[in-house]
Symmetry: C2
Subunit: 399 residues, 2 copies
């Protein structure tokens, strides 16, 4: 049916590639491209032999000319961007220049600020519309499936959704006293940044980790969840008509927070170099060297994730609640695609979004967030491609 | 009256020197000697101008010949050893070779083991006796004053002491989230080593920090106290006749323990070098470089210490309890001698022990722990020289 250029060669890209080759009628040809071609070649080597033809390429995704050249040479129908969020705009520019559809999983974030917002990408709406091209933004799990869940709830169960609580729980255990899945600097930022939620038409800030609840998650059990800002709040606030309140909750264990706080207290997370025996060393860099290699966590992580949305609203004049969620098992994900659930839950929806676009079901000229498309074929595909969802019409609510 | 050679130039040595010059009739001349003469000179400069004559010298306290040469040149009546515990034996050897009395504040500890025991120093008993010389061991606060307190209780209040609980509380606050007064490696060892206490003629081991109580300390309030091994248990078990049980308790805050445990968990307290950008770096060394300089803590430490002994026993056929303790204030100590209470409470008793020896009140040929001398003049001197004690005849007991 079509050709996809996948930019990126990290954990999520690996999942996307694994899943694309499971649907060779849709993804007849793919090209895996990243700054380090050897990583793409390693991926290709693992997956060659199926019906999908795989090629690889070297590309600097910061460079529009290089991207245009690669696209013109491979001639894909869609670019699946699972590179760094800093590179969204250069890749969108290259898609416009070459007439190719676009999909990503995380919104653009300028390198020099810590602020993620859709405004830079939404500014491309007219350009994509005029070019007759579709750009699908934030098509991972959260953002991504959380938007699809919201559109599905809206379509089938509510006349008006009043509140959405997104709950993202990772109950994985890697067996180390402390390790981070990714850059500890980002983890620190997550827990030291102000929270933010949408209520009655505006965003309200809360002190870092000040809003805490205990939520009893299906298949996981009761966990501490903390209110954070997350990028889908911005688009859902605009796209779910009549919405009064949207909050995002993430689990952090007391142990995890204690470790991060202590390391911050003693200065080990600082990015200011200190003088050590006549040499300038950044404490955070040294900490990374002491901590377990994030790449070593995959095979040893046990337990499950549970990500879902709890809705409150009105249907036929009656109060109504609805909870839809996916539970993924780290070890099952690892067995299937060689990545644990964090990457899996992000990569599978990216493949599904690209598939629906190629099939024409999610094709409409412009720049869109996922909740602006028909959720039904996506919900079906989640069940088919490894992220089955479950429903609860009488869920515990978060006060 | 006499001349004292003070070996060491650290925090405790500084206190000893400050206090000696307050008693110029006893300490007519002192010599401050250490590996780094400039430190001794700096001390001398601060204190010159009183009636005590001060000189300084460079000496390697590991080297008996160097020590003998220095002693023969200065001709002291006593050597006050406030150098490293590894150097007790070389200094005792030099004292024997030159016919000079000896006093220290911490028992000998071989460099290659973590075990402190009196056996190495007690082996010098006959030699000192035959030479007509006095060696006073462990004359700081604990060991030291805790032994004097025990002898005093025995002499004045009990026919038989059955139990002693030594409680060492430091409620000082330096205002940092975490810092160590000394080597973090030693702190780690303290909290990860088994506890040990004396009961019915033998030592009983307990898992690290497994014995915890809350004790309400005068002028400090309720604190978590943990059972540890401490060196005076060995000598008190031998010297307090009829004793059934001796325990040592030290305060650690939950915050302090959490910081140490996290740093241990992530590997930052390891002494195994790791490869960092092609270079071998010991994590503990790097941690030390990140933590506040221990020397910076003195001027900013507020709050008090409380160290004392709780006795239970029998007098005239009646059950009796007795608690004697000293409370010191970090800032008052710092104002008086430029060191906070940890060094102050160790240095003052060393000066007092040396003074009593020079006055002939604590002079008897042989090697002795402090509880083997008459406690009365020492108790008087504590009140006079900055470590006043208080008594409670109805103290809270530790179960």
């Amino acid at each position: 049916m079509g050709k996809a250029l996948i930019i990126g060669a990290g954990g999520v890209a690996s999942v996307v590639v694994h899943k694309c080759v499971q649907v060779p009628d849709v993804f007849e040809e793919i090209c895996i491209a990243s700054r380090t071609k050897s990583k793409c070649d390693a991926l290709k080597e693992k997956l060659d032999g199926g019906r999908t033809k795989i090629q690889t390429a070297q590309v600097d995704a910061d460079n529009v000319d290089e991207l245009v050249e690669l696209i013109n040479s491979f001639k894909p129908d869609i670019v699946i961007n699972v590179a760094l969020p800093y590179q969204d705009l250069t890749i969108m520019d290259a898609c416009l220049a070459t007439g190719v559809h676009y999909l990503d999983t995380a919104n653009y974030e300028p390198l020099d600020t810590a602020k993620f917002e859709y405004k830079w990408q939404w500014a491309y709406r007219e350009k994509f519309e005029e070019a007759g091209l579709t750009a699908i933004l934030g098509c991972g799990f959260d953002p991504g499936v959380t938007g699809v869940f919201s559109a599905y709830a809206q379509k089938h169960y509510f006349d008006e959704i009043q509140t959405i609580d997104i709950v993202d729980a990772n109950a994985g255990d890697h067996g180390y006293p402390f390790a981070t899945n990714f850059n500890p600097e980002i983890n620190i930022r997550e827990i030291t940044a102000n929270g933010r939620y949408w209520e009655n038409g505006e965003f309200i800030e809360t002190p870092p980790l000040s809003e805490k609840r205990v939520y009893d998650l299906p298949e996981i059990g009761p966990k501490d969840v903390y209110l954070l800002y997350h990028e889908e709040l911005e688009s859902l606030a605009q796209n779910i008509k009549g919405i009064k309140k949207i909050r995002f909750w993430m689990t952090f264990s007391e142990k995890y927070l204690t470790h991060l706080r202590v390391l911050e207290n003693v200065g080990m997370t600082s990015i200011e170099p200190i003088n050590f025996e006549g040499q300038e060393i950044v404490p955070l860099q040294f900490l990374k060297a002491v901590l377990p290699d994030p790449a070593s966590l995959g095979p040893r992580t046990k337990g499950k994730t549970n990500i879902g949305c709890i809705f409150q609203g009105v249907k036929d004049g009656e109060e109504k609640t609805y909870y839809v969620y996916n539970v993924s098992d780290h070890q099952e994900c690892y067995r299937e695609v060689g990545s644990q659930a964090i990457s899996y839950t992000t990569g599978v929806p990216a493949m599904i979004g690209a598939m629906l676009l190629l099939k024409g079901e999610w094709k409409k000229p412009g720049v869109y967030n996922v909740e602006e498309f028909n959720p039904d074929p996506f919900m079906e595909a989640l069940n088919e491609y490894g992220l089955p969802w479950q429903e609860d019409f009488n869920p515990e609510l978060i006060d």
